[in-house]
């Protein structure tokens, strides 16, 4: 592999760039120990892949909001604005971003208690401080997760 081809080392470049960017600071870390076995827990996925259904609003540039979709939805679009990562994996198999079929299998096998009725997507390309997500839309999403009696959230990044 030569280093001078145009399209090489994209992931390395992105990781190097990201490690130099400012990150939000948290003075404390909340930590919730499960109060029941995982096999009785309701699990939801929250991804930053900007997923949405075709009938939902697309993510705008700098959109700090989120979209909710149902457990059965599979006709999802990855509406991410960043050209800096691979989109083909999601087209081949949405589980590589949003492992909903794997969760269903884990529920069927009794490893987790239940798949949550709704799952959520944010947009991953955000300002460094992510203050709107931290102070506004993130807490709004948490309200909806708690309304669905979710015990565990798996966060998948894009």
């Amino acid at each position: 592999m030569t280093q001078d081809r145009a399209a090489t080392r994209g992931d390395d470049a992105m990781r190097a760039l990201a490690s130099t960017m400012d990150a939000p600071e948290f003075t404390s870390t909340s930590f919730n120990k499960l109060r029941k076995p995982l096999s009785e827990c309701r699990v939801a996925i929250v991804t930053s892949a900007s997923l949405h259904r075709p009938d939902q609003d697309r993510f705008a540039q700098g959109d700090a909001g989120f979209r909710a979709f149902n457990r059965d939805d599979r006709n999802l679009i990855m509406g991410h604005w960043s050209p800096n990562f691979d989109h083909s994996g999601f087209h081949l198999d949405l589980n590589v971003v949003y492992p909903i079929d794997r969760l269903e299998e884990l529920a069927a096998d009794g490893v987790i208690g239940e798949v949550a009725p709704r799952h959520f997507a944010f947009a991953g390309n955000q300002p460094d401080t992510v203050s709107e997500i931290r102070l506004d839309t993130g807490p709004q999403c948490a309200v909806q997760l708690n309304a669905d009696a979710v015990d565990v959230v798996l966060l998948t990044p894009v």
Partner: protein, 227 residues
């Protein structure tokens, strides 16, 4: 993602972050992190490999057994694949059209089959599939030095239009190669190194930069590391 973990934990929910950028996750410090060195855009590592995805999930859910914040690495690294995917391109049809325009027209059947099969498309952020050749015509003119303020781009937003062109090519290409699933950066490598559309976008971007168009107008047309 790590920020959302803090927010959700504050409300009583237990969270697990699959982190694709370990350095960032360390800085933000959510309570449970499984750092996975996989290609960006593939947080479960391998599309179409349920067994591998289950390995990742098993280690992730095991983090719930810890009594305090915990940070682990998934032991297997998945390297990105940067060789251009092998995908046939349509032969020249209209010798009077710019190569990228001709090429995009030739892919419309494959694109339509893809949409028929999948039921959804990522194209449409700024332009419809039928406008892809016209957008490439403008980009071709910019690449040849035409002034961006005078030659108008269908869809206007350069970043969104380039997204739509890339998505159109991705969906058509995956239809053409069938089960020969590309590696993580194989599509990008093919698009920018092999297709006329990708080369035209890169040249148009260079031209916009030389014309001193606003930075966000041209920079985000392609991945940041591309010249």
């Amino acid at each position: 993602m790590s920020t959302l973990a803090h927010v959700f934990e504050d409300t009583g929910i237990a969270t697990i972050v699959l982190a694709s950028m370990a350095d960032v996750a360390k800085k933000v410090g959510p309570p449970r992190v499984l750092a996975c060195e996989f290609p960006l855009g593939r947080p479960l590592g391998k599309p179409g490999d349920a067994a591998f995805q289950h390995q990742v999930l098993q280690q992730a859910f095991n983090l719930l057994e810890a009594d305090e914040p915990t940070f682990e690495h998934f032991p297997e690294v998945v390297e990105s694949d940067e060789m251009p995917m092998a995908c046939p391109l349509p032969p020249r049809d209209d010798p009077n059209a710019p190569p990228a325009v001709d090429e995009a027209r030739g892919l419309i059947s494959a694109y339509r089959r893809a949409v028929e099969r999948k039921g959804v498309t990522a194209v449409g952020r700024a332009i419809e599939p039928e406008q892809i050749p016209a957008a490439l015509d403008t980009l071709h003119q910019w690449a040849q030095g035409a002034a961006w303020k005078e030659v108008k781009l269908p869809g206007k937003n350069t970043v969104a239009v380039c997204h739509d062109i890339r998505a159109y090519y991705l969906e058509a290409a995956l239809e053409l190669v069938g089960d020969l699933a590309p590696g993580s950066r194989s599509f990008d490598a093919w698009f920018y190194e092999v297709t006329e559309a990708g080369k035209t976008i890169l040249e148009a971007r260079r031209s916009l930069k030389e014309q001193e168009a606003p930075f966000p107008f041209w920079f985000y047309m392609v991945a940041g590391h591309l010249e």
